[in-house]
Symmetry: C2
């Protein structure tokens, strides 16, 4: 995995929320948006907002704030969302299917060109327009598509085996939705998504809200 | 929204990964697991692991580490995952359907008792065994179930309107999968999940890996 940490990772993580808000402002016809307004809407400190946005190199104007169109462009360009990123998805189960239908990702430039699964009923079909191939054909198909990004949504036990195939065929980045901690070369980018992390935080907040635990049910 | 931050939120977020690893160790028949081993497996510093685990009040034994069964129990108890949390899900689209079929959450004590949607074809059916009701019946159904937790997977434009109904019927915590920043009373717990954050980080890591941006496609 790429060991080098992303500079300002928490700032990068907040950029999509800024983008969403600024696009809303654009739809409402606003020309400028202030850091203070953004901070208020997202319950952040204004200084944090200005620091976060500065990584995209955008400059605000005194008293006016950020030009809405430029701010959208700067964030999209910084994230590379103004270009198409082609990807494959491996594992077209519940979560995989949901991701294939998740239009937000398409708006962010992610274009899944092919999905792979082991289920004979799915192979040869299309899910949300995306053709589904057999996992057994990964080594032939991926080089043919010339894709460098893979979304990994297989059962966790299969994750390492599939990852080794993905490495062999030249995949450079894996967005990992499994519970598995992948063993990969240092040059490979891995971003692990774990819904359980958010749920853990939710549960602790709920407990803090109610100091008395509910009885077992 | 509950403004008080969760003490040690990053530690809480890492607990599910520890739990997953320690359960694996248990399946392999291990009695004890060391903080150093956990750190190695998850690419963390041993001191971080010990600090994270200390929030569950567990104590390791010198030279042996943590008793595997006790560690599992301590993490589950701290997160409340040793009890059942009943919930409703509002919005049985792609993502909602995926969540209803996501067994990991059931293992963490989350039991979705009812789903709500606007699609007449879904209302009256079951998705992954969970009965689907009309959104129009939210105000009757939720008090009848006595549920305090809601998973929100409606389109973002509908999120605030649904949230106001959820507040009226006594929901105390919302796990928010929409892009909307919800306006809620201070007493309500909201945990927002945003796949776009992880994707933003992934994209920046991929760009750092390849300093030359790929040509537009």
């Amino acid at each position: 995995m790429v060991k080098q940490k992303v500079a300002a990772a928490p700032s990068v993580r907040r950029l999509p929320a800024y983008l969403h808000l600024v696009r809303q402002a654009q739809r409402e016809g606003l020309q400028y948006i202030s850091g203070t307004f953004i901070a208020q809407e997202l319950s952040l400190e204004p200084i944090q907002v200005r620091k976060d946005l500065s990584i995209t190199r955008i400059m605000g104007k005194p008293k006016k704030g950020y030009a809405v169109a430029s701010l959208i462009g700067a964030i999209e360009h910084f994230l590379g969302w103004d270009r198409t990123r082609q990807a494959v998805l491996v594992g077209a189960g519940n979560l995989g299917t949901a991701l294939l239908g998740y239009q937000e990702l398409q708006r962010q430039g992610l274009h899944v060109v092919a999905a792979f699964d082991v289920n004979p009923e799915k192979i040869g079909s299309r899910i949300h327009q995306v053709p589904v191939f057999s996992v057994a054909t990964l080594e032939q198909e991926i080089p043919a598509w010339g894709v460098k990004t893979a979304l990994l949504t297989v059962p966790s036990q299969a994750a390492q085996e599939i990852t080794e195939i993905l490495i062999r065929v030249g995949i450079e980045g894996i967005w990992n939705f499994t519970k598995a901690k992948l063993r990969v070369p240092d040059t490979l980018v891995v971003q692990k998504e774990d819904l359980s992390s958010g749920y853990a935080l939710f549960c602790v907040m709920m407990q803090n809200r109610q100091p008395e635990a509910s009885p077992p049910s």
